[in-house]
């Protein structure tokens, strides 16, 4: 039994790290796609498809991460603690951040599944939750990681993720397109 418990512990930790990596990739692709980034080999619909598919993969890894954390009896985390923030008895703050991230992810998933039935602008406003989800997930990992989070290679990965998202956001903010500029002109009709 101890072997299984230890395996669950490692599964929870490692899937958490991989989740962060995947969520980073998804966020980077999402930001670049909004900034209309594309290359000859990676046209717009490829960026869109990759963003979407990696997001599905990220959700799968988050599910494994959450399940492993709950099934593992060591921390005593209950199913409810995964979605109700700060209710856990084990490291309530850091686990709570994880629950908050899970809630945000749930909102993103549900709204994206309903995307064709929602007004575009509403879906877009909801999707901005991704920019809250990602830092919460990062901080959750840094906090709940404890000793593991101070390992050299873990720090490198986490720093790399932060840099990647920051860079992608900068690229996104600097992107310009004539359609956006033209629509900003005041037309005196409102």
């Amino acid at each position: 039994m101890a072997f299984v418990n230890q395996a669950l512990w490692f599964a929870s930790r490692s899937s958490g790290q991989v989740s962060l990596l995947l969520l980073t990739l998804v966020a980077v692709l999402g930001a670049l796609h909004t900034g209309r980034a594309a290359t000859r080999r990676w046209p717009r619909f490829a960026v869109h498809t990759l963003h979407h598919n990696l997001a599905v993969l990220a959700v799968a890894f988050v599910a494994v991460h959450v399940a492993a954390a709950i099934i593992d009896p060591y921390a005593g985390i209950r199913w409810a603690d995964a979605v109700v923030p700060f209710a856990s008895t084990y490291q309530p703050f850091w686990t709570g951040l994880g629950a908050a991230a899970a809630d945000l992810l749930l909102a993103l998933v549900v709204s994206s599944m309903m995307r064709l039935r929602l007004p575009w602008r509403l879906w877009r406003a909801l999707h901005f939750a991704a920019y809250v989800l990602w830092p919460v997930a990062l901080v959750h990992g840094l906090g709940i990681g404890g000793a593991d989070a101070s390992l050299g290679w873990v720090r490198t990965i986490d720093a790399g993720c932060a840099l990647a998202v920051a860079a992608a956001v900068v690229v996104r903010m600097r992107a310009r397109h004539q359609d956006t500029e033209a629509r900003r002109v005041e037309v005196g009709l409102r």
């Binding site: 717009r44 869109h48 498809t49 004539q178």
Partner: protein, 72 residues
């Protein structure tokens, strides 16, 4: 008599992202400013799957399918 669908674009929603033309190059071409030019013909048989994928991919949901009356 099969019900047919036609591709239409809501011009107020279109932001010239151009994914539709990338995914359906034989059906949609872009004008010199990046906006899609669509023909009035209904979607050809066999293309519905590709067309629906393009509709889902449009970042602003400007590309839509409209039911057209079957021509008799």
């Amino acid at each position: 008599m099969t019900r047919s669908v036609t591709l239409v674009v809501d011009p107020t929603a279109c932001r010239a992202h151009g994914l539709c033309a990338e995914m359906l190059p034989d059906v949609i071409r872009l004008d010199e400013w990046g906006y899609p030019i669509l023909g009035p013909e209904p979607v050809a048989a066999g293309r519905e799957r590709d067309v629906r994928a393009a509709v889902r991919a449009c970042p602003t949901l400007a590309l839509r399918l409209r039911r057209t009356d079957p021509s008799c």
